[in-house]
Symmetry: C2
Subunit: 281 residues, 2 copies
Amino acid sequence: MRERQIKIGIMAPGSRIDRDLAQRATALCKSIYKDRVELSFHKQCFLSSGHFAGSDATRARAFLDIANDARFDALWFARGGYGSCRIAEAVLKGLKPQARKKCYLGYSDAGALLAGLYSKGFKTLAHGPMVADLNRDGGERAVKRALAFLADRAPTALEKSVRRGEPAAAFNISILSQIIGTPLQPNLAGHALMLEEVSEHMYRIDRSLFHITSNAKIRKIAGIRLGRCSDIPANDPEFKQSEEQVARHWCRVSGIRYLGRADIGHDVGNKIVPFGRLSNV
Amino acid sequence: MRERQIKIGIMAPGSRIDRDLAQRATALCKSIYKDRVELSFHKQCFLSSGHFAGSDATRARAFLDIANDARFDALWFARGGYGSCRIAEAVLKGLKPQARKKCYLGYSDAGALLAGLYSKGFKTLAHGPMVADLNRDGGERAVKRALAFLADRAPTALEKSVRRGEPAAAFNISILSQIIGTPLQPNLAGHALMLEEVSEHMYRIDRSLFHITSNAKIRKIAGIRLGRCSDIPANDPEFKQSEEQVARHWCRVSGIRYLGRADIGHDVGNKIVPFGRLSNV
């Protein structure tokens, strides 16, 4: 019996990618899955319009081309950067019922779109590696993990705490901060909220965690699980608190439980966190 | 007849200042107002605790020492940096009725406290120069303007659009963004909202303006008046939109009126914007 082919549509909601990256990802996928998994890069991924991979309208259309096409099993974000929030309104307005039947995977800037989809009741959303993670040292590990999740929902790809079945969600700290109090902010009541950051000063991480934990709806989460905060620029003067001390501080102030560390971050170790209950995935 | 002396209490809600700065500000004040205006620097201004001018508890106490002391006519913020949001809750809890009878002046990070006080119904709050502006090239101009406002409510110190009597408020873009959806977010319905920024990449200005203009309560403002956005680091790739194009974009998307430019910013030209109606001041 021939297995059904899995078709993964790829678009870039923020910054563009090169064709070379797409070719390397396609070759890696083929080396593992032969013809069982097909990566289909939307031509929008390679466009350039100032900061973005094409205009807002072009990027929103590319998202909807994949999301609303029943032939695709998944929409995989190519890369972060910046731009998801600019297309979220058009994307959410243009979704058709069949868009609910596929899986969406990405992180960082793409979190703004995952948040909006979660607010709309989409069930199969996950925080995890993107195509551009292949550019990291050892990035094959991250991309293989994403493919193992997209192709087979491999349990080994998952962040270990989510395997216990508690509802969870994961975000970049800056991205979640910048959707607080907007229609994109999802209802995370009862969820373990995993948070990670990259390339932000400690005082900014502190300020964003003040912001996130001061929101009344966020205070209904089950707790915060802190992912990795990497490439933190030097603070002047020295901040004298680690990211864990900062997270524990804001948990104490806000009455939110601190649940420990999460195995996520802007790195090749970034594990996959499905949104909501694992049984949805 | 001897004129009543005006007593201005100074504290640092975020970063510390040097004693030399305090001495220079005191000498400048004396050269203009003789004994009619007295600057009283709280000793907390000179403390150091990691990033901050003393611990959160110490800074909150210094604020309340001045705010709750009826002998002071004004509380003037010494400097921005980062730290106001960390003390806002303790400050707002500790305020006594006499705290409502004085004027509060500052900007940048201190906007988080001004916002919280405005939410509590305080009437005499203003966005304008702080003591540390004396360290800028030509900074005397800024500090003289602040003193002219604190001592005499000099109309020449005011941002010109506020003289027409429309309710207004002014904030640093990042600071307002990071209190959206928290108890510190003030009700700005019907206000002209002036916004300024410094040292943020254009993509971050864009993201913060997405955030601010996506909030349902913010959409009730009379419009946005854009202050100066200075020292913007180079965007990679080039953003290809100016801050005014970015502000106009988000006004168009959100249905908020774009009212033109405001004469405020992180510079010596920074004019004073009283919160609410000018008749309150």
